[in-house]
Amino acid sequence: MAAGVYIVAGDVLCGAGRGVEDFWHAMMQAQPLQRSCDLGDPRLDATCVCVPEPRTPTGDLATSWLTTVCSGALTQAQDLTSRLREPRVALLVGSSLGGMSLFEAEHRRSAESPSTSGIGIPTGTAPAWQALYDGPTRAAAAELDTRLGAWTLNTACSSAANALGLARRWLQRGRIDVAVVAGVDVISPFVYAGFASLRAIDDGPTSPFAEGRRGLNLGEAAVAMVLMRGSDLPEVTRLVELAGYGSSCDAHHLTRPDASGDGLVRAMRTALADGRVQADDIALLSAHATGTPFNDSMEGAAFAKVFGAHTPAMHAAKPVVGHTLGAAGAIDAMVVWQALMRHTAPPTFRRLPPDPTLALQPLDRPQALPAESYALSTSSGFGGSNVALLFRGARS
């Protein structure tokens, strides 16, 4: 049987603040943290985004934030990683934008655009590689002791979830001893305008799985978690296991998910089978839940097929911290990790009434979780990517 893989530390920087305690407090409060933000283009009116505060760039934000949370998570895990002799550490990052802010800054300077300054758009000339999709990963790795390299996954909004799945596989295969798994994305005029052009943005706080839902709120985050094999850990620290992973592609449409939900169903069933559990065993479901009409309908259809009459406690993080794009899967994993540690499913902010066509709805108040609960987290992205992660909480 493959070795169990456990989450042993984590750090986060997002609209809810810095650190796991601030993050969890924000989730339990379940109040939207969206605000207006100057993204650096005077023609852009970003009134409902969820960004860390303060947001003052020194260099490239994505690199800076990624390095900060990875260092934070590794510091927290130091007592455990130092038990290993010369641990083989790899950094795996999920990001859909990578060094896009740097690309944008340089491109606009060369295009002599008026919007060449402002918060989040770096000045100066960075090395060409830092503006690539794996740029922040490489820059962060230079600051960390990653003996086994640093690799990036980009499957749009399921990027960090896929990075977690890959980390689990490599730990089980003994390719690495310690995985620092991170997600990072930073909003820029390019990204905001792109989503706005698709009419995907709600100008008020997003309301997933609600009747009359109008879209998403963009958010920024950097999240890092440290994962290790259970055989390298004292039993008392084996609290939350990443127990299963499933990945699929809708092969349907570039931006619109397959309404049948069959792609997500495949990913969910693969994760459940990987962890040798049944759908009825799931106590907590962390949904992707962007608040767009199509995504939530697709997820609702998938959940109905997988769970049938079973109703796990459901949570959606995006009303609080926004849709953090490539980092979203890591945000959701952070919620699940804390929920299983604390035996509590957090509530979800609700602005609009529930969609009556979607049977499974987010909780509107906290709910106790039994010890040794199972949780499932789902992520979906442009291009039809679907990822499901299965987590197991240890007996307290």
Binding site: R43, S110, A141, R169, C249, G263
Partner: protein, 321 residues
């Protein structure tokens, strides 16, 4: 224990002859293959050259491989990916403003958009992963595809790469003072796709057995040596059995480290530096290296080092030898 898969089919678009553009930048472009119309690919009109090259190699490889089950996956790597589309969208945004920019191009400003179009065209519903990066990322894409197949995650997988050098990329490299110097391989464009199937699918293509080890970015020689030894151990191959050493590293100082380490470990092996044969062709060099290894006489060591990480792959067995 090695990862055992069948190489069911492959298709490559190789760099053309060395030419210099109007700014005297030496470049090996893809030939006219991209101008050919692919059946059923009218949907690809919004793909840039990177996307069309990726879609073409995937489609051609899939056709050669025969029908692929719905659960088949796609594993992609690219260094520059959709930079030209990003630049085009940004120019539209600058010109038209955020309220009136067209939504048609935005979805293609993702490295995975071209892969997604290929998945739709070929009906690939299995695991789908995109690894931004160069040849090292391509070897990670190959490794994870083989891992997935060997674990029963998917019955088959297309592993694909594509890199083109457009106007924006050239300007970006020039501005960042990152154009290759006279002692480095020239820039090149290429694309490649391999179709891997389960080892039990006995009728489909030569059998490959390989394993790999990971190492740090910008490695020193001791780290390279450690990674090479780990890869050999994982593949169950002794150093003296290596017949061929293939490097896909483009930076001269890293290539020199590799040469010293591999001469120390594998003394009599034949050496091949693909970037000096084909140019700096981005991620595709990783897959070209595996194909070159299959054309050898025995076990091969493939090295890819970059600022991100090191991947050392050992091809232990190939039924073509």
């Amino acid at each position: 224990m090695t990862l055992d898969v069948h190489l069911s089919a492959h298709h490559a678009l190789l760099p053309g002859p060395l030419l210099k553009d109007h700014d005297a930048v030496a470049l090996r472009r893809l030939g006219d293959a991209l101008a050919e119309r692919l059946p059923g690919m009218d949907r690809y009109s919004r793909l840039d050259r990177y996307g069309r090259a990726l879609a073409k190699v995937c489609a051609e490889a899939a056709t050669s491989a025969g029908s692929l089950p719905l659960e088949s996956g796609l594993s992609v790597a690219s260094l520059h990916s959709c930079e030209e589309t990003n630049a085009q969208f940004d120019l539209e945004l600058i010109a038209k403003g955020p309220r009136t920019v067209s939504p048609l191009l935005f979805p293609y400003t993702l490295p995975g958009a071209a892969a997604a179009e290929a998945a739709m065209h070929l009906r690939l519903g299995g695991p789908y992963r995109v690894y931004p990066g160069g040849a090292d990322a391509a070897l990670v894409a190959l490794l994870t595809a083989a891992e997935g197949i060997s674990e029963g995650e998917m019955p088959a997988c297309i592993v694909a790469t594509s890199d083109v050098v457009g106007e924006h990329t050239l300007r970006h490299l020039t501005h960042g003072r990152s154009l290759p110097g006279p002692s480095e391989p020239p820039l090149a464009e290429a694309a490649c796709a391999l179709v891997l199937r389960q080892a039990s699918d006995a009728s489909r293509g030569p059998m490959l057995a390989f394993e790999a080890a990971l190492g740090p970015g910008d490695p020193h020689e001791p780290e390279l040596e450690r990674t090479a030894h780990e890869a050999l151990e994982r593949a169950g191959v002794q150093a003296h059995e290596i017949e061929q050493v293939i490097s896909v590293t483009t930076r001269p100082e890293l290539a020199e480290h590799e040469r010293r380490v591999t001469e120390k470990i594998t003394r009599n092996a034949e050496r091949l530096s693909l970037p000096w044969r084909l140019g700096n062709a981005g991620a595709s060099l990783g897959l070209f290296a595996l194909l070159a290894a299959t054309e050898g006489q025995g076990p091969a060591l493939v090295l890819a080092t970059s600022g991100n990480g090191t991947v050392t792959l050992v091809l232990a067995e190939c039924s073509l030898w």
